[in-house]
């Protein structure tokens, strides 16, 4: 059975691009348009990998990342952050939230700034899922 990859992004063009890359490489894509929906899909579908945007309506990727990394059951779920937000800003946001009394979270292992080439994305997914 092919591995499931959840794409959480509010931009339909980015979702289409990512889903196409996933299908071409034999994965089963799942989609969510914001962090809230993403969280629900993660619980319902148990994906093998999440590709997460940062700037979205309802709940941003900053919060969802934090929630996943501080959840005992989900903290090991592999993640790729794919966003227009600079990695430096993302890291500073996590640091600020920790300073405001949150739990410290690890840095994301895979952070890709948009736009990304299909081959580069596919290679990163391959590296994670084998």
């Amino acid at each position: 059975m092919s591995k499931k990859v959840l794409v959480v992004d509010d931009d339909p063009d980015v979702r289409l691009f990512t889903v196409t890359v996933l299908e071409e490489h034999g994965y089963t894509p799942l989609e969510a348009t914001n962090g809230e929906e993403g969280k629900k899909k993660i619980k319902e579908e148990s994906p093998d990998l999440v590709i997460l945007d940062v700037l979205m309506p309802r709940e941003s990727g900053v919060r969802l990342y934090r929630e996943l990394k501080t959840d005992a059951k989900l903290s090991k779920l592999p993640l790729i952050i794919l966003s227009g937000i600079a990695k430096k800003s993302f890291l500073r946001s996590q640091k600020a939230l920790t300073e405001f009394g949150g739990d410290p979270v690890p840095e994301p292992e895979y952070y890709m700034e948009k736009p990304v080439e299909a081959e580069e994305l596919a290679a990163t997914i391959e590296k994670i899922l084998g």
């Binding site: 509010d10 914001n34 940062v54 700037l55 979205m56 309506p57 309802r58 709940e59 941003s60 900053v62 919060r63 227009g84 937000i85 600079a86 800003s89 993302f90 500073r92 946001s93 600020a96 939230l97 300073e99 405001f100």
Partner: protein, 292 residues
């Protein structure tokens, strides 16, 4: 009545990053989440003779907005704030109302309408329509009069113009929640001249005294919440006197209840809150009555 999440509605020309930064003082009250909204008017991308729907123009406008929002969002994220974004094609009014509901926002911030007067008369300006339809307060943001710069903090010295309507009384609760941001609040009430005409001096003084006493009770409420407050009674045309009072009190923001009049009555008879929102030189926050 906490303002935890605000919707920042911008076309970029009228409301920029300086305005957004001045609103971040609300963080010391309870602001945690800013949602950016940019609505691309359908007329800019749809159906021109021989061209149909101009997808490339939509992409260009979306990306232009996206680049600005990413820049702003990075700044807010770095401060530990939560940020969201909507870049949508459609009617400004309905998209803003829809986003407010989806996000469960506590405040809508919008710049002043730039539509020509004639167009506003027939269609109703967008800002006015949003004020009419919103269930949450609407802050009509304006730069500092005559300087075009954003205020350091619009909530520093608000002036509450009360007509004792449900909306203006609800405003009291909102201001009280901002006690860490507000340094002083001036509370004013305008007695219309027609109310006083033909009466004796004693009767006019009685009007003033009664109005003043009511205002003082509001001031006591603010002071109990830890906010310094002053009461003032003005006499004359409500819009002109509110504007005068704002100048004299060096207000940074006018707060008023939005009108409970039906839309047709507002259009033909007029509405003081909408006139302030549209014409006043000061930023204006209109608070609607609680909707059941």
């Amino acid at each position: 009545m906490d303002i935890q999440k605000l919707l920042f509605v911008t076309k970029f020309e009228e409301l920029g990053f300086d305005a957004l930064q001045s609103l971040l003082t609300l963080r010391s009250a309870s602001l945690q989440h800013v949602v950016f909204v940019n609505v691309i008017e359908r007329s800019r991308v749809a159906m021109r003779r021989g061209a149909g729907y101009i997808k490339s123009e939509e992409v260009r406008l979306r990306e232009r907005a996206n680049i600005r929002f990413i820049d702003w969002a990075e700044h807010l994220f770095e401060q530990g704030m939560e940020v969201g974004v909507y870049i949508v094609v459609g009617s400004l009014v309905s998209q803003v109302i829809e986003a407010t509901k989806k996000e469960n926002a506590d405040l809508i911030v919008i710049g002043k309408s730039e539509k020509p007067m004639l167009e506003q008369f027939y269609s109703g300006p967008d800002v006015t329509e949003i004020i009419r339809r919103a269930a949450v307060p609407v802050l009509v943001y304006k730069p500092v009069p005559e300087s075009n710069l954003a205020l350091e903090s619009p909530f520093q010295r608000p002036m509450l113009a009360t007509d004792w309507s449900a909306g203006s009384l609800r405003s009291v609760g909102y201001i009280k929640q901002l006690k860490d941001v507000v340094s002083e609040v001036n509370v004013i009430s305008v007695v219309e001249e027609k109310t006083l005409r033909g009466d004796s001096a004693m009767r006019i003084q009685k009007f003033r005294k009664e109005a003043r006493q009511k205002l003082e009770s509001l001031c006591e409420e603010f002071e109990a919440a830890g906010i310094q407050a002053r009461a003032h009674v003005y006499v004359g045309d409500p819009y002109e006197e509110i504007e005068r009072a704002a100048r004299e009190c060096q207000a940074t923001l006018i707060v008023a209840g939005s009108s409970a009049k039906p839309a047709w009555a507002e259009r033909w008879i007029g509405s003081v809150p909408l006139a302030i929102a549209e014409k006043s030189a000061y930023p204006t926050m209109l608070v609607p009555p609680e909707k059941s």
